[in-house]
Symmetry: C2
Subunit: 386 residues, 2 copies
C-alpha cells in the first residue's frame, strides 16, 4: 500500500445554511481545492458522503452532480452512504483508492442539508438506519436509544447526569472557539442540567443539534504531497467494523464492539497504541457516546471514561483533548458531513492551524465516526507527514 | 496494485420478487458465498450497491444491515450509490480495496426492489439523478431522454426503428436462454415495432422493464484465488468517468464522452484494445444505448453500430456477442443490481458456465454500466485468471 496524505481541507460554517445541498457541497469542496493549491484538472476521482439527499432533496447520484457543478469532469465520482458514518466510509474508500496506486489526486466531500425539513421528519429519517423490524417499526428513535444506553451506564458504571453536563460544557466551550461550529455559546453545568428532557435521562444539552454543513479534504500519495504543501498529514491507519444491528441483540449494549474492533484494526495498521494519540474527535451525537467510545477505543478503562472527563483529562488543555472542534454537540452533525469534518479538524490540529482551540503540538490524532447505533464504526488515525 | 480475482458469483431471478430488499440482497449474497466456497468469517468487507432504498423501503445504511442479516459481522460494510451505475461503482471500490492490500476477501452485492412502487413513482425516482434545475424540474424523465437521443441518432446516422427492434429481438432471444432473466419470451421485429409508444420514437420493446433483483460477487487477491477455485476471473481493468450532467450542455449528445473516457482508462489499465474483447455486457436501458455505447467503447465506428447489429455481429454466435444475458432489456434492470449482474454474467461466460447462452470460449470480456444519462460511466474488463 502506498502512503496517503491529506494536503488540503475546507468546510462550510455548520448551522442553518441558506444554500441547498449542492451549494454547500460545492462551497466546502472549492475551499479544500483552493487550500490544497491543486489544479482542478489534476483530480482523478471524488467521493461524496451523504446520507439522505434522496429523501430530503429528491436528488440521487449527488457525486456525479458535484463533479459537474465544480468542474471536475471527467473525474470518477461515487457517493458513499453509511448513515452518520458516511463521511468515515467515504474517506476510507478514497484512502484505499490512493493507496492502491489507481488514483493520485482525490477529493472527499461530505455534506448534509437537514434544516429544510421539520425536526420530526429528520428524526424519522435518521431512524431509517435502525433495524426495520426489531426497532424502527416499534417507534424507536436514535435519541431513545441514546437515553437507554445512558440509563444502563448510570446503573452499571456510576455515571451521573452531571457527567453528561460536563461533556456538554467542555464541547460548548470548544465550539465557542471554532468559527465553523453551529453552536457558539458557552453553557454551564446548571444550565445544561435544567434544559428540557429529550429522551429520559437525556436533556437538550446532551444531544447534538440538527445542522446543515459540508466538509472536504484533498488526498494524494505522500511521496507527491511535498509538491503541494510543507505539512502533509499522513493517514496512518484505518479500521472499520460492523456489529449486530438491533441494540437488544447485543450481549452487553454498553460495550460498543464495532468501536473496539475498528480501533484495534486502525491501531494495528498504524503500528501505535491508544497512548500514542494526542488529540481525538469522537462521535458525540449523544454525550454518552463520547464517554463510551473513549473507553472502547482504549483511552480509558471500561466504565471509567466519565471520571476522565471529571478530571479534565479530555479538556482542551488536558492530557488527551477530545472534540476540540466542539464535537457533534457544538460543531453540529450534518450526518453525511461529520466523518469528513472530524478529519478536517484533526488535519488543522496536526498542522497547528486550529486557532484559539489549538491543542499543544499534537503529533498523532484519531477520529471515530459512529454509524447506525454503533453497528458500523469507522476509525482513522492521522499523523504528521513532515 | 495487487491483481484481483472474482472467485464466486450468485444472483436472484430478476423480475417481481416476493421478498423485500434485504431478502433479495441476502439471497444473492448467500449464493455467491456458497459458490465461492469461502467461510463467512473470512470476509474483511462488503460493498452494497443500491440506488433508492431510502425512498422505496424507508431504509438507509443497508450495507450494515446486510452484514448483520447474513452474519458477516464484524466485516466492514459500505453502501455505494451512483444511480444506475451503483453496481459498477461498488465493484470498482471493492476492487481497489483488494488491490490496495487492505482487504483480502470482499463481497459485492447490488440490489434493488422496484416493483412495490407504482410505475410513475419509479419513473420519478429514477429521474432524481437528472439535473435538478436544468432537467428534473421541467419534467424530463429518462425515457424522454432516451427518445431524444434516439431521434438524434436517426437524423444523424441513418438509424431506423427497425434497428432498435433488432436489438430487442436479439436481447429477448438471449434472455430466453437465461434462467435469471426477468423477461423470458421471444419477440419478433414486427411485434416490437407494433408495441405501444413510451416516448417517441421509443416503443415498449425498446426500453427495459422495472424489476426487482440482486447480484453478488466474491473478490480476493488473484494469488490467493487458487485456494478457492480453479477458474478465477481476473479484473484486468477499471475505468470510470463523468460528463456534464445536463444533456443539453453536451457539445454532441450522441457522443457519450463518459463512456469513451471510461473505456480508454479501462483498456489502458488492462493493456488491451477493443479488438481483444470477446464478449460484452452493455447498459441497454434503452436499446439505442447498446448501439451508442458499442461505438464509444471503440467496438465499431461512430454511427455504424446499428449496421453491426444488422449484420449479426453482436448476436450470441456473432464475432462480438453483446448482452448474452439478455441485457437490461430482457434480464431486467433493478438499478442498484445491474453493474454487478453484468459482471456476474461475464464471470460465468469466461468460465464456460453460461449454459444455453454460452458464447464460444471467450478469453476477455467487458462490462459498461451507465449512470445518470451518461454523466457517470463505469467500465470493467475481465479475463481468465487461469
Amino acid at each position: 500500500m502506498r502512503d496517503v496524505a491529506i494536503i488540503g481541507a475546507g468546510m462550510t460554517k455548520f448551522g442553518r445554511s441558506p444554500g441547498d445541498l449542492m451549494d454547500i457541497l460545492a462551497e466546502a469542496s472549492l475551499r479544500a481545492i483552493e487550500h490544497a493549491n491543486v489544479g482542478k484538472e489534476e483530480f482523478d476521482a471524488l467521493y461524496v458522503s451523504n446520507m439522505m439527499a434522496g429523501e430530503t432533496a429528491h436528488q440521487t447520484a449527488v457525486a456525479s452532480s458535484l463533479a459537474d457543478r465544480i468542474a471536475l469532469v471527467p473525474a470518477a465520482a461515487d457517493r458513499v452512504e453509511n448513515g452518520p458514518a458516511s463521511g468515515g466510509s467515504a474517506l476510507k474508500n478514497a484512502f484505499l483508492a490512493v493507496a492502491s496506486g489507481c488514483y493520485d489526486l482525490v477529493l472527499v466531500t461530505g455534506g448534509e442539508k437537514m434544516t429544510t425539513a421539520d425536526t420530526d421528519i429528520i428524526t424519522d429519517l435518521v431512524a431509517t438506519m435502525t433495524h426495520p423490524t426489531a426497532e424502527y417499526i416499534h417507534g424507536v428513535t436514535l435519541p431513545a436509544m441514546g437515553g437507554m444506553l445512558t440509563r444502563l451506564y448510570m446503573e452499571r458504571y456510576g455515571l451521573t447526569e452531571r457527567h453528561l453536563a460536563m461533556v456538554a460544557v467542555k464541547n460548548h466551550a470548544n465550539g465557542l472557539k471554532n468559527p465553523y461550529a453551529h453552536i457558539q455559546r458557552a453553557c454551564t453545568i446548571e444550565g445544561a442540567m435544567s434544559s428540557g428532557v429529550i429522551a429520559d435521562p437525556l436533556r437538550l444539552y446532551y444531544v447534538c443539534p440538527i445542522s446543515d454543513g459540508a466538509a472536504s479534504l484533498v488526498l494524494c500519495p505522500l511521496d507527491k504531497a511535498k509538491k503541494y504543501t510543507d505539512k502533509p498529514v499522513r493517514i496512518a491507519g484505518v479500521g472499520q467494523a460492523t456489529d449486530v444491528q438491533a441494540l437488544q441483540e447485543r450481549e452487553d449494549p454498553t460495550v460498543l464492539k464495532s468501536v473496539k474492533i475498528a480501533a484495534q484494526k486502525a491501531f494495528k495498521m498504524a503500528g501505535v497504541t491508544p497512548d500514542d494519540i494526542d488529540v481525538a474527535e469522537l462521535h458525540d451525537a449523544f454525550e454518552i457516546l463520547e464517554i463510551a467510545e473513549s473507553e472502547d477505543i482504549g483511552f480509558f478503562e471500561k466504565g471509567k471514561g466519565h471520571l476522565a472527563v471529571e478530571k479534565g483529562v479530555t479538556a482542551l488543555d488536558g492530557e488527551l483533548p477530545i472534540n476540540p472542534s466542539g464535537g457533534l454537540k457544538a460543531r453540529g452533525h450534518p450526518v453525511g458531513a461529520t466523518g469528513v469534518a472530524q478529519a478536517v479538524e484533526l488535519f488543522w490540529q496536526l498542522r497547528g492551524e486550529a486557532g484559539e482551540r489549538q491543542v499543544k503540538e499534537p503529533k498523532r490524532a484519531l477520529s471515530c465516526n459512529f454509524g447506525g447505533f454503533g453497528n458500523n464504526t469507522v476509525i482513522h488515525i492521522f499523523e504528521r507527514g513532515w
